[in-house]
Amino acid sequence: MDLFKTTILPTDNKVLALRMFRQLVNERPHVLMVVNGRDPEAETFVQRADRLAGTLQDPRWVVWARKPEQIADEVNGLKGPPAMHSEIADSRGFSLSLADEIRDVIAKNDPVPDLVRILEAFAKAESRR
């Protein structure tokens, strides 16, 4: 699996995973797609999101949180509508704006996101709507 614009968080070092996530969220100006889980569906999601993240100059970026519980506290502290916050715990992933605000959540019981669905999540993170 070739991933060009994805940061894979370690599963065996929670402190490092958290630090990497914090750095991506707080210190790097990215439009982030956070993908949760490590099953084949999550892999498909990551691959598609990585491709839609564009070229290196594009601010879109993908974070693969194979153990999302490692970053749960940090995620809970992010800005965003309460309704979305409550969905994140049981989601396939979510998107964050340049201002680190949660803009879209792809629920666990939704189908594996296709390119259109992932593009929608990126676009919502980039839109002011």
Binding site: F4, P29, V31, R51, L52, A53, G54, T55, L56, Q57, D58, P59, L98, A99, D114, L115, V116, L119, E120, A123, K124, E126, S127, R128, R129
Partner: protein, 614 residues
């Protein structure tokens, strides 16, 4: 990309976005834009009535999506789904906007890559991303309801990402696929509507003094081009024959006013009342004829047909009521001293109202009589065939009288229309009577041109206050034609121009001359600079201000030899009121004045012969 450029693009895109969204929301088919003689373009808003310059060219654009939707609604739910049209319109609009944003977004991303990622850089990038995200979301919103589109978008994105991961490549795939799908949807709608035999017509008319004539719209009709006529802006034309005649009449009127007082002006009442009294005399004659015919017939049948007596009694009662009404009206108009009005306008309004009532009662009376006679006829037919000849005579009299009375009402209304025009601000137009001629083409949706223009200079002679009406209509093999949209353009001289105005001034020389009264009336004309680009309805219909020079024929030394007065003048209320300060060249005296353009003085002079002096 500089901040300024990005802001510019943002503004343009927002305008495009909101204009499109507003258009889609309101469902307007016609968009009008005025190109005036100075080359300035003005979008004519969504108001049903718009003011345009009398020499302008009107660009007309038809929005196919909105048109399809209106036709579908006209033809009923079964013809084609409104949702389909909504989707096609939204997709087309989003695709068009999205494609135009690819280049600026690419530039913004390149600039972002080179930047230091300062907060200003982040803000600049955010704006570029926001602009592109909105049409993207709109396309996806449609795809979320349309699996076919969704599949196509996924396939197009997949293919694009194999070639190139760039945002430009992704967006091009997304928006080009959306545009192509929108075209397919529209094609489907077109075909469905064509199967229904749907057609569209666009017509234009100019309405002048209550008369209308069609105008040519290229691509929409086979009318010939009209006469080329430019309403002159700057040439100072010589006084027209009509203006010369007005000056002569104003001079005579001024003399009357200076000798007998301003009260003479109100004699306009005589004209109105004279016309009404004359009409009532003629109406009374018709009623007398009907009465005689009825009495004659009544005498003939009374002995034989008691059963129809009650019907005839009703007819007589109605006739007596009508006679009483006509007499009371006649008395009211003949007894002028009892009727006082605060203004000429009030007088005209009251007269008009009486006319309307009279017309209504007259028609009611005659129709009632015809109905009664028809009832009698059925009874008579059964038992007294020999009465038919007498009945036919009564009917003939009634028909003649009806025509006569209607003609008289029309006649007297026509006589007063000029007076009414003085108090009316704009033409009241019954656009329902503007019918599509056979020269107006019936277009199917796939043939209809999306643009046309109406060149007012090709509309022949025009005057301020004329009205142009555009009507868009549709129908089908099964459905009668219906008007979908209607726009009214009031023609005024919006751009700067010179205008002549003839009127009466009342000059006050401030007791420095032989003038005994405070004001001396004098005929005058003004050369006014008007039209300051204002397109407001009130401004053009009511105010129409101007300023310039007033030239008058004064007589301060009262030797009956006119003296030349030259003044600076300001004019408002369509030149009905002017005020200024001037100089009597011959008498070396200054004066201030006010002027009136009310037609009262003109109407005072030709007093009708049948109206006695008050």
């Amino acid at each position: 990309m500089t901040e300024l450029m990005l802001r510019g693009i943002s503004v343009i895109c927002l305008i495009l976005w909101f204009a499109g969204a507003a258009m889609a929301k309101q469902g307007r088919v016609l968009t009008l834009e005025e190109l005036d003689n100075e080359g300035k373009t003005t979008a004519l808003g969504e108001d049903r009535v718009a003011i345009v310059d009398i020499n302008s060219e009107i660009k007309v654009r038809l929005h196919r999506g909105a048109l399809q939707k209106k036709i579908a609604r006209l033809l009923g739910d079964g013809a084609v789904s409104g949702t389909l049209i909504d989707r096609a319109t939204a997709l087309q609009h989003a695709a068009r906007t999205g494609l135009t944003l690819i280049k600026p977004l690419t530039e913004a991303l390149a600039e972002w890559a080179q930047s230091d990622k300062t907060p200003q850089d982040v803000a600049s990038l955010s704006r570029a991303l926001e602009l592109s995200a909105d049409p993207t979301l709109l396309v996806i919103e449609v795809a979320n309801k349309d699996p076919v589109l969704r599949d196509r978008l996924n396939a197009a994105l997949e293919a694009a990402l194999v070639r190139d991961r760039s945002r430009a490549s992704q967006n091009r795939a997304l928006f080009e696929t959306a545009a192509a799908y929108a075209d397919e949807l529209k094609q489907t709608v077109d075909e469905a509507l064509q199967e229904e035999g749907a057609y569209v017509q666009l017509g234009a008319w100019i309405v002048q003094d209550g008369q209308d004539r069609p105008l040519h719209l290229p691509g929409f009709d086979q009318y010939p081009e009209g006469d080329f006529f430019v309403v002159d802006q700057w040439t100072l034309l010589p006084l027209s024959e009509e203006q010369k005649q007005q000056l002569v009449e104003l001079e005579a009127a001024a003399k009357v006013i200076n000798e007998e007082g301003i009260g003479e002006l109100v004699k306009v009442r005589n004209v109105a009342n004279g016309a009404i009294v004359d009409f009532l005399d003629r109406a009374q004659g018709s009623v007398d004829r009907i009465e005689r015919a009825l009495e004659s017939f009544r005498g003939a049948v009374e002995a034989e047909a008691t059963s129809i007596r009650s019907v005839l009694d009703k007819a007589r009662t109605a006739q007596q009521e009508y006679t009483a009404y006509v007499r009371s009206l006649k008395d009211r108009y003949a007894g002028q001293s009892a009727r006082r009005f605060s203004s000429g306008a009030a007088l005209l309004e009251s007269t008009h109202n009486d006319l309307v009532e009279l017309q209504h009662k007259t028609q009611g009376f005659v129709s009632g009589q015809i109905k009664y006679i028809a009832e009698v006829r059925s009874a008579v037919n059964a038992s007294m065939s020999n009465m038919n000849v007498a009945l036919a005579e009564v009917e003939r009299v009634l028909q003649e009288c009806r025509q006569e009375l209607q003609n008289n009402v029309t006649d007297v209304a026509g006589q007063l229309s000029d007076l009414m025009g003085a108090v009316r601000l704009s033409q009241q137009i019954n656009t329902a009577v503007l019918d599509f001629g056979k020269e107006v083409l019936k277009h199917t949706l796939d043939q209809i041109p999306e643009n046309t223009k109406l060149d007012l200079k090709r509309a022949g002679a025009r005057h301020a206050g004329d009205v142009v009406v555009l009507k868009l209509a549709a129908g089908s093999a099964q459905r009668q034609r219906q008007v979908l949209e209607e726009r009214r353009l009031d023609l005024y001289r919006v751009l700067p121009h010179i205008q002549m105005a003839v009127g009466m001034i009342f000059a006050d020389p401030s007791e420095r001359t032989q003038v005994e009264n405070r004001f001396q009336a004098a005929p005058s004309y003004s050369i006014l600079l008007k039209g300051f680009g204002k397109r407001g309805i009130t401004y053009n219909q009511l105010l129409r201000p101007g300023f310039g020079v007033n030239v008058s024929a004064l007589d301060f030394d009262k030797d009956d030899t006119p003296e030349l007065g030259i003044a600076l003048v300001g004019s408002v209320f369509r030149d009905y009121f002017q005020v200024g300060y001037g100089y009597n060249v011959n008498e070396d005296a200054g004066y201030w004045f006010f002027g009136l353009r009310l037609p009262l003085a003109t109407f005072t002079l030709p007093r009708p012969e049948n109206v006695p002096e008050p």
